[in-house]
């Protein structure tokens, strides 16, 4: 039993912290949020750290690190929270390519993902939003040369930054295949959705013609493999949310000391304390379930129940911690330049990503054998 970071992880952590301090100050993040600075502006700096190849094998130009290592990096990114396609491309798409792609497809795309030259976004969800096989209704019609993709992909993270999409589409009946689609392919149209979410986009596929080699693994049904990749990506996403939780907690702690009302620091009031205690409880529940889930993935243990539990706790915890943080800060918290609303928006944006808390709880029930007829 050793529940501390190892030497190498502490180095990783300190390197990424230095970068983030330099290139992603709170003022910069607020400016990105306000739209006065483009999110893509930070991409070269991120790519330079090698974090986009954290989970890409060395043979494909990546680091070939452990899930726990990736957790260390993405926890730091989550603290910002640093927006952008680092997770979509460097983790989610990279894992899907490894799980579903052929050797050629991996060789063709993983190095570019690791270097940051290509930016992949994963376009699975649709207006009837959900992460189950049955929720995919976009179609891939067979043509002599390949496929024609049609449909609407909605709430796709980082769509506007992407050079490529991994698109899920029905290839016939219940079968769902995954396709590599360049974002500049004819028939692809893409925009960011306005509102409380951040960086979610609409991707219209209007009869997009793609070659046969665009189908991941050449498999007309790649959904089960996709779900395996998604499960692993989920644990890293949870680490990102843990970072966000940590940051929200620290903001509240600091404010509890410096803000005075009724002639004392507001943190002397039990009601304020209890909000912050709720936050640290959400934080630690998400943190330790996430760390254990990453460890299970790294050590080849059955990780399904652990990942789903961590994901539910991280998504719910981040959401509720932001609510509690707004209680702690009252008016100050909604002022954009203060920085709390960055987390508020991100917590909402990620709440359903890679499956809602409800989805993860249902999957957890399944993993625990809590289905009728399984006793």
């Amino acid at each position: 039993m050793d529940l501390l970071l190892n030497e190498q992880q502490r180095m990783l952590q300190s390197t990424i912290q230095d970068l983030l301090r330099r290139d992603f100050s709170k003022e910069m993040l607020v400016a990105i949020d306000a739209g006065t600075v483009d999110v893509a502006q930070g991409w070269p700096a991120l790519a330079s750290t090698g974090l986009l190849g954290s989970l890409v094998p060395e043979e494909h130009g990546g680091v070939g690190g452990s899930f726990s290592d990736a957790g260390v990096l993405f926890e730091e990114l989550g603290r910002g929270p640093v927006p952008g396609a680092h997770f979509s491309s460097g983790v989610f798409a990279a894992l899907v390519l490894q799980e579903c792609g052929s050797a050629d497809q991996q060789s063709a795309h993983l190095p570019a993902i690791a270097s940051g030259d290509a930016v992949f976004a994963v376009a699975v969800t649709e207006p009837e939003y959900g992460w189950e096989r049955g929720d995919v209704q976009a179609t891939a019609e067979r043509t002599p040369d390949g496929y024609t993709l049609s449909g609407v992909k909605l709430h796709v993270p980082d769509a506007l930054e992407a050079t490529h999409f991994l698109v899920a589409a029905r290839t016939g009946g219940e079968s769902v295949g995954l396709f590599i689609v360049p974002s500049d392919a004819p028939g692809v149209a893409c925009r960011t959705l306005p509102g409380l979410s951040t960086g979610l986009g609409e991707v219209l596929l209007d009869g997009v013609a793609i070659g046969e080699d665009a189908l991941l693994g050449g498999a007309s049904d790649g959904w089960d493999a996709f779900e395996r990749a998604m499960l692993r990506a989920t644990a890293v996403l949870s680490a990102y949310q843990v970072g966000g939780l940590e940051s929200v907690f620290q903001m509240c702690l600091e404010y509890s000391r410096t803000r005075r009302q009724f002639q004392q620091p507001i943190g002397r009031f039990q009601r304020v304390q209890d909000h912050i205690i709720d936050i640290v409880n959400h934080l630690d529940a998400a943190r330790w379930t996430t760390y254990e889930a990453l460890w299970k993935l790294d050590t080849g243990r059955p990780a399904e129940s652990g990942v789903h539990m961590a994901a539910a706790l991280a998504s719910e915890g981040y959401y509720l911690a932001c609510n509690a943080a707004h209680d702690v800060h009252a008016g100050v918290g909604i002022v954009r330049e203060y920085g709390l609303t960055l987390h508020t928006r991100m917590s909402r944006t990620l709440y359903h990503h890679l499956g809602s808390p409800r989805y993860h709880r249902r999957r957890l029930a399944g993993a625990l054998g809590l289905q009728p007829g399984l006793s």
């Binding site: 306000a34 207006p127 009837e128 939003y129 959900g130 189950e132 049955g134 929720d135 209704q137 909605l154 709430h155 959705l193 306005p194 509102g195 409380l196 979410s197 979610l200 609409e202 005075r260 009302q261 009724f262 002639q263 507001i266 009031f269 009601r271 304020v272 959401y319 609510n323 707004h326 209680d327 009252a330 008016g331 100050v332 909604i334 002022v335 954009r336 330049e337 609303t341 508020t344 909402r348 944006t349 709440y351 359903h352 809602s356 808390p357 409800r358």
Partner: protein, 411 residues
């Protein structure tokens, strides 16, 4: 007990008269989910309609007729509001804390001259009034404000900064809490001032916020920072006398803490959310097939219903002359926390679509849902945070104290 009003023929006659008049006079203004989108032109239409209502005493129907109110009973006021509600038009039809909060404070604490001077222009809709309470260092702890108003001859000289102020499109007046005697003890150092907003030295600057909601009938649009730099205001405008600002504030706070609702209606969000759920599908199957979706909607419904009933109790009891103590703050607390739990229920049911803003084609219920996602957070703080409501409830119930705190004066 009777949870419904039975209308007399006289009351029905009044209602018919009101309906006809409203139909003839009401302007057509789009229902902006986000009040920040109200245009200057639309605002002017609202003000014009307000002045017409004011001329009939219907802008503030229950306020005394001698000062320009309607002098109407609670029942007739309710009928009036129900008729306006057909046009989705609140009363007053724009953000105006003049009559709703400040007007009562003036009525209770003003001199006869002050009432005669200020109330008619408020109640007839000639001016719109903001409230200036919060400062950078004074939020929940309102009594710690630092903006000073120092007497100098027949004037007060005002210096300081107020934040989270008002709405879009300006105001003719504001009422505000100020320090009139920096050396006096806490709670005895304050004054309550009616401030013409066109005086030299006043600067208004828009804040950059996550969102500014505004409650039904008080849609505020935006919030501002207001700076006072040696602003000279006539001493006549100090209501309640020097050193009595905290008592005067007790009156308007009493209203603000949960008694602001007049007629109590169903939350229109409920039907919007139910409509969505009844028609939405997931993977080709009705969303309502999921038991957890139904459960969340029921949670939502119960939150809305309990809030409605607590406000309804307060409204009815006030009408029956029963002294309220903790009930205002309780209903307000329920309403505030209900917004948060409803927002989460909606997000659970709708997914990220709940976060899409109008006029995007994917926005749900013309954007009302996304506005609620933001507004639920922002609604926690104005009029006293949830924590402040709990402080009031505890004191009024007498938790841990033998003597219960008295409510602020309302008459």
């Amino acid at each position: 007990m009777d949870f419904e009003l039975e209308w007399t023929p006289e009351q029905e006659a009044f209602r018919a008269e009101a309906r006809a008049w409203i139909e003839a006079n009401v302007p057509s203004i789009p229902d902006h989910p986000d009040p920040a989108n109200l245009t200057r032109e639309e605002y002017e239409l609202q003000r014009e309609f307000g002045r017409r209502l004011g001329a009939k005493g219907w802008l503030y129907p229950t306020m005394p007729a001698e000062y320009g109110g309607g002098g109407l009973s609670m029942e007739l006021a309710m009928a009036l509001e129900e008729e306006l509600d057909r046009y989705n038009m609140p009363l007053p039809p724009y953000y105006d804390t003049g009559g709703k909060l400040g007007g009562i404070a003036i009525l209770v604490w003003g001199t006869e001259e002050q009432k005669a001077h200020f109330l008619p222009m408020i109640l007839r809709g000639e001016i719109r009034t903001w409230q200036l309470l919060t400062e950078p260092e004074s939020g929940s702890d309102l009594a710690s404000v630092r903006t000073t108003a120092i007497r100098d001859g027949d004037e007060y000289v005002v210096n300081g900064t107020k934040i989270f102020v008002g709405s879009s499109h300006g105001a003719e007046y504001s009422w505000m809490i100020v320090v009139t005697d920096p050396d006096a003890p806490r709670h005895e150092n304050l004054g309550w001032l009616m401030m013409p907003m066109d005086l030299p030295g006043i600067t208004v600057e828009q804040m950059d916020l996550l969102f500014v909601g505004g409650e039904r009938g008080a849609a505020s649009g935006i919030k501002n920072t207001v700076y006072f730099d040696n602003v000279r205001v006539p001493a006549f405008n100090l209501v309640g006398g020097e050193g009595n600002g905290w008592k005067v504030a007790g009156t308007h706070l009493e209203i603000e803490h949960g008694l602001l609702r007049s007629a109590v209606r169903d939350d229109p969000l409920t039907e919007r959310v139910f409509d969505y759920a009844r028609n939405a599908k997931r993977g080709g199957r009705p969303l309502l097939e999921d038991q957890d979706v139904r459960d969340r909607l029921v949670d939502f419904y119960i939150d809305a219903e309990v809030t409605r009933l607590l406000h309804f109790r307060n409204y009815a009891w006030r009408g029956q002359g029963k002294q309220l103590t903790y009930e205002g703050a309780q209903a307000y607390l329920y309403q505030k926390r209900g917004q948060l739990s409803k927002a989460r229920a909606v997000l659970d049911v709708m997914g990220p679509q709940a976060l899409v803003e109008a006029p995007d084609e994917w926005a749900v219920a013309d954007g009302h849902v996304e506005v609620h996602q933001r507004g639920a957070i922002v609604d926690q703080h104005p009029g006293g945070t949830a924590e402040i409501q709990r402080v009031i409830i505890a004191r009024r119930l007498g938790i841990g104290r033998d003597v219960r705190e008295e409510p602020g004066r309302l008459r």
